[in-house]
């Protein structure tokens, strides 16, 4: 979408006519608030319904209505679902951005567009499919007021024809999207039919793209990360949810609220087994979660970068006073207000150390919606086991886009409430000290108000083992050292990394979160284009496991790939490594706000490995000439 640098075009290029099956990106450029989301999701589901792996990424503005929005569907038979930089088929519905949208396409791409925009005059190396949307919608919708809502569905019909998308799958997807509203379904079906009919009778297919039935997604569902996290939180038995709205986190709590209202009402009394409070700000939201955690409830909040900044003080209190709470950070572009509707992984360092003084926090890094679900469940156990705040580091790409996932599994472990003081424990240890390490793991026992056990005083000020206020140097040091010991204990309780050791690998690659999807594709590209073998370590949590150092030790060069400017994860890893391993780490960075793509990573690694990389417009991977190679 950037202003095009492709100003100079070669003389007419023959458009490729070889068939491209289940391997292209469709981008729909519309205006937000125009009902395009329904049409886009129907399209996504139709392709998914034909058994083809898909991803759908929404690029929307920080606005309610009227500004440009782009929805990109990638269909890929090999399961590569990360963003692809090049667009193969553009649906241009927004007059304001149409020119720029067309100019930024690679040669040979196709364009379905609103006929009056006359986009075919802009270039002669693309395939144009003009569609008279206004005329068509007038034909199927008598009520002028409703036309706005169905106009977009027409392009679904057009694409069904152009790409051989199964009509019944499309109708099934439509019913799913608008299921509860039969009149809307009927109207939209009319739009689908009109679009299909027009394309069938008027458009000559001049490109090779097609969708073919396959069987790669059997048993999978389509769901957003925030929905998965909400589901996980409910299955984890969360009872107190205190939150403040912020893009892109709001839908996590909003979805959770809907689930709770449906599945957590006591059948006998009709009363809720949960409490939800929309606090006055993020500070209060975390304060409430901490108060609830202190009093023994499973509590949580959800936010994004700006909220994390606000929560700093309470995060430090939670760490030092040792109170559990779960915080979801659905990361977006910072710093400051940043780009509220763009994705990033830029809160890693802030959150690891959130608050002044020697503070350190547990973090989980989900890479899929499946992990949003499972790590949400784990987070509550870990928060209570380690009596500390824990941060689930999702991001906008994961939280707000639609991803394929295996069906969620019912948790197989009971809730772990951690070291809660009981009569038996009290007898065993003799005298209760809230901050007294009796087991040697750095984790102490806690009692909760009203549980009949001895009370204690919780405070953010310096304290001794008996939770009394203390300024004594030895008390302070002993306590803060124990907190470090507790953090060390956590190392082996955190989710294990996902590691692929390739015996032929010359380099290692480290990544986390949604970067994973681009890594999968990148590793295949490196192999295909430069015969470069890689091993891959996906970080799932902080503190890191011991395996991380072992992994780095295997290779002379290890690339840490992440979506922020300052190599935050690489920096965090460095802190844990001896000098010899530190120097092996190299960065691959992407921070435009768009989800990272494989090509960016591949080119960066190739360059750093000494290869010459040609920058071409075409997205066709080609063998790069091996330059100096290696070092």
């Amino acid at each position: 979408m950037a202003p095009s640098e492709i100003a100079h075009q070669d003389p007419p290029v023959a458009t490729p006519t070889k068939r491209i099956v289940n391997d292209f990106s469709i981008q729909i450029a519309t205006v937000n608030g125009s009902g395009s989301q329904t049409a886009n999701l129907v399209l996504l589901r139709s392709i998914f319904g034909m058994g083809v792996p898909v991803s759908g990424k929404n690029m929307f503005p920080s606005n309610i209505a009227g500004l440009p929005t782009w929805f990109t569907i990638r269909a890929n038979k090999d399961g590569y679902i990360a963003r692809k930089a090049g667009i193969d088929l553009l649906v241009a519905m927004n007059a304001e951005t149409a020119r720029e949208d067309v100019l930024s396409l690679d040669s040979g791409a196709s364009v379905v567009y609103d006929q009056p925009l006359k986009l075919d005059t802009l270039r002669n190396d693309l395939v144009f499919y003009p569609v008279p949307f206004d005329e068509l919608v007038a034909g199927i919708c008598k009520d002028a007021k409703l036309r706005r809502l169905v106009r977009n569905m027409i392009y679904d019909g057009v694409l069904a024809n152009l790409l051989d998308i199964n009509r019944s799958q499309m109708e099934k997807a439509l019913s799913k999207q608008l299921g509860a509203k039969p009149k809307a379904v009927e109207l939209n079906k009319g739009a689908l039919d009109a679009g299909f009919k027009f394309a069938d009778e008027n458009l000559e297919k001049r490109d090779g793209m097609t969708i073919e039935q396959m069987d790669a997604v059997s048993g999978l569902v389509l769901v957003e990360g925030n929905t998965a996290a909400a589901l996980g939180a409910m299955m984890a038995g969360v009872t107190v949810v205190t939150w403040y709205p912020i893009t892109p986190s709001s839908s996590l709590c909003e979805t959770l609220i809907e689930y709770l209202k449906k599945y957590r009402i006591d059948k006998e009394t009709g009363k809720a087994t949960f409490a939800v409070v929309q606090a006055e700000d993020e500070i209060a939201a975390l304060g409430m979660a901490i108060g609830a955690g202190w009093a023994g409830a499973r509590s949580m909040t959800s936010t994004s970068g700006p909220g994390i900044s606000l929560m700093g003080e309470f995060a430090g209190l939670g760490y030092y006073a040792e109170v559990p709470a779960v915080i979801f950070d659905v990361q977006r572009v910072g710093p400051s207000t940043g780009l509220p509707t763009r994705t990033a992984q830029g809160d890693v360092l802030t959150t690891a150390f959130l608050s002044h003084g020697d503070t350190r926090h547990l973090m989980l890094f989900p890479a899929s919606v499946g992990e949003c679900y499972s790590m949400a469940i784990e987070a509550f156990d870990l928060a209570e086991r380690f009596q500390t705040p824990i941060f689930v580091m999702s991001d906008l790409d994961l939280g707000m886009n639609t991803w394929m996932s295996k069906a969620f599994e019912y948790p197989d472990k009971p809730l772990d409430r951690g070291k809660v003081l009981t009569k038996e424990t009290l007898e065993r240890i003799g005298k209760f000290g809230r901050y007294r390490d009796v087991d040697g793991d750095g984790i102490t026992y806690r009692s909760r108000p009203g549980d009949g056990m001895p009370a204690s005083f919780c405070r953010g000020s310096g304290h001794n083992e008996w939770a009394q206020y203390s300024e004594r140097p030895e008390d302070y040091e002993k306590n803060i050292d124990r907190l470090a010991r507790k953090f060390e204990t956590a190392r082996n309780w955190m989710p294990a990394p996902v590691v692929e050791i390739n015996r032929k690998a010359s380099i290692g690659v480290i990544a986390f979160g949604t970067t994973h999807w681009a890594i999968v594709e990148c590793r295949d590209q490196l192999l295909a284009e430069a015969d470069m073998q890689t091993s891959y370590y996906r970080v799932c949590s902080y503190p890191f496991r011991a395996a991380l150092a072992s992994f780095i030790e295997r290779y002379e060069r290890v690339y840490v790939v992440e979506q922020n400017r300052d190599a935050q994860m690489l920096s965090l890893i460095k802190l844990d490594m001896p000098v010899e391993l530190m120097r092996r780490l190299r960065s691959v960075l992407h921070y435009s706000g768009l989800p990272i793509d494989a090509r960016t990573i591949t080119d960066s690694i190739l360059l750093q490995e000494g290869y010459r990389v040609e920058k071409t417009g075409a997205e066709v991977p080609r063998k790069r000439s091996a330059g100096v190679g290696g070092e």
Binding site: M235, A285, G287, G293
Partner: protein, 348 residues
């Protein structure tokens, strides 16, 4: 000659069988003569006399001299000394987790009126069942005497610096925001403060009490409008409060104007005896007027300024189950497999 053997003298206990000393806390580290110490003594007295179960009390505070005081009363109760100005949110969370707890929050005028004014506002709106005490000395004692937002216009610091911003009247603010129990007292007025605290313990909702508590070190000097001498000269009690807890089964019939009976949520009744001003604590406009007028005269209206006993408290509005959320067993908080399957099916 009749003799009384000390060993035979009966130990005085309250209705749940506890002695007064079991409501005490640690030794105070506040300055000798600090008003906050007197308030702590009244809290001990009120909890003892009302037969409050200390194991169900949670003591909450922010940061400041006032916020240190919870360590000096109710040693058997859980306490949480939180962060500056943010105790309301922590208290809210604690009560969400366990609505059976009796919450007692201690704050200061800086903790509430400056950094905490935002959380104070929303706490008053929510009507969370908590006793919220502002130990108000018009200065930041712990950081050596800077002005706080309740410091009166024209009051001076020890160094001679004059405050030139109008004060925040936390009582007027609370009334305006919808607080259901607003009172003011003075740390040196033993009878009145004790009565107000006992009434607060019976109120189901937020009981906000502004207690003028002169700082002996930084604010108790000529020119401060919160010094002992100033308050004693300008104190303006609104009415005589005799609180009659229902379990003591005493009823008082007081002539001299009309007697206003106010029902509290636990079934007990608060009786107000009207003095010549004919004061009605149920009248919000009257409350605001009295607060403004007394303020104008350089006085402090003390007593129960406003009360609204019938509003639902925050927890009731949430319609949670009777058992504390913190205590719910796994089968009550983890939906069955069928629920998960249903959700997954809906995603297909």
């Amino acid at each position: 000659m009749a003799t009384v053997t000390p060993s035979e003298s009966r130990k005085k206990v309250n209705r749940i069988g506890l002695e007064s000393k079991e409501y005490r806390g640690g030794k105070t580290t506040l300055c000798a003569g600090c008003g906050h110490n007197a308030i702590s003594e009244r809290i001990i007295g009120a909890c003892y006399e009302m037969g409050v179960d200390p194991t169900m009390v949670v003591k909450l505070s922010g940061i400041g001299c006032s916020s240190k005081s919870p360590a000096y009363f109710l040693g058997e109760s859980h306490g949480f000394n939180t962060v500056h100005g943010r105790m309301p949110s922590v208290g809210t969370g604690a009560l969400l987790a366990n609505q059976k707890l009796i919450a007692l929050g201690v704050s200061g005028d800086g903790d509430t009126g400056a950094i905490g004014v935002g959380q104070f506002v929303h706490l008053m709106r929510r009507n969370l069942p908590i006793i919220y005490i502002i130990e108000d000395n018009g200065c930041y004692g712990l950081t050596k005497g800077q002005f706080s937002p309740t410091a009166d216009l024209g009051s001076t610091k020890k160094t001679g610096v004059v405050n030139d911003l109008p004060p925040i009247d936390t009582c007027a603010l609370a009334v305006e925001l919808g607080a259901t129990f607003v009172a003011r007292s003075f740390s040196g007025d033993k009878k009145q403060l004790l009565a107000i605290l006992k009434a607060a313990l019976s109120h189901r909702g937020t009981a906000m009490i502004d207690v003028l508590s002169p700082c002996v070190t930084f604010n108790d000097h000529e020119g401060s409008t919160k010094s002992y001498s100033y308050a004693k000269d300008h104190d303006d009690p609104l009415e005589d409060i005799s609180f009659v807890p229902f379990f003591e089964d005493i009823s008082v019939d007081y002539e001299a104007g009309t007697t206003q009976a106010v029902s509290m949520h636990d079934g007990s009744t608060l009786y107000l005896t009207k003095l010549e001003e004919d004061y009605d604590p149920l009248d919000k406009l009257q409350a605001l007027r009295v607060l403004t007028e007394t303020r104008r005269r350089g006085e402090f209206a003390t007593g129960l300024i406003y009360v609204e006993p019938d509003r639902d408290d925050f927890l009731t509005m949430l319609n949670i189950v009777d058992e504390p959320l913190a205590d719910l067993s796994e089968d009550r908080v983890r939906p069955p497999k069928a629920a998960l399957d249903e959700i997954v099916e809906s995603l297909r």
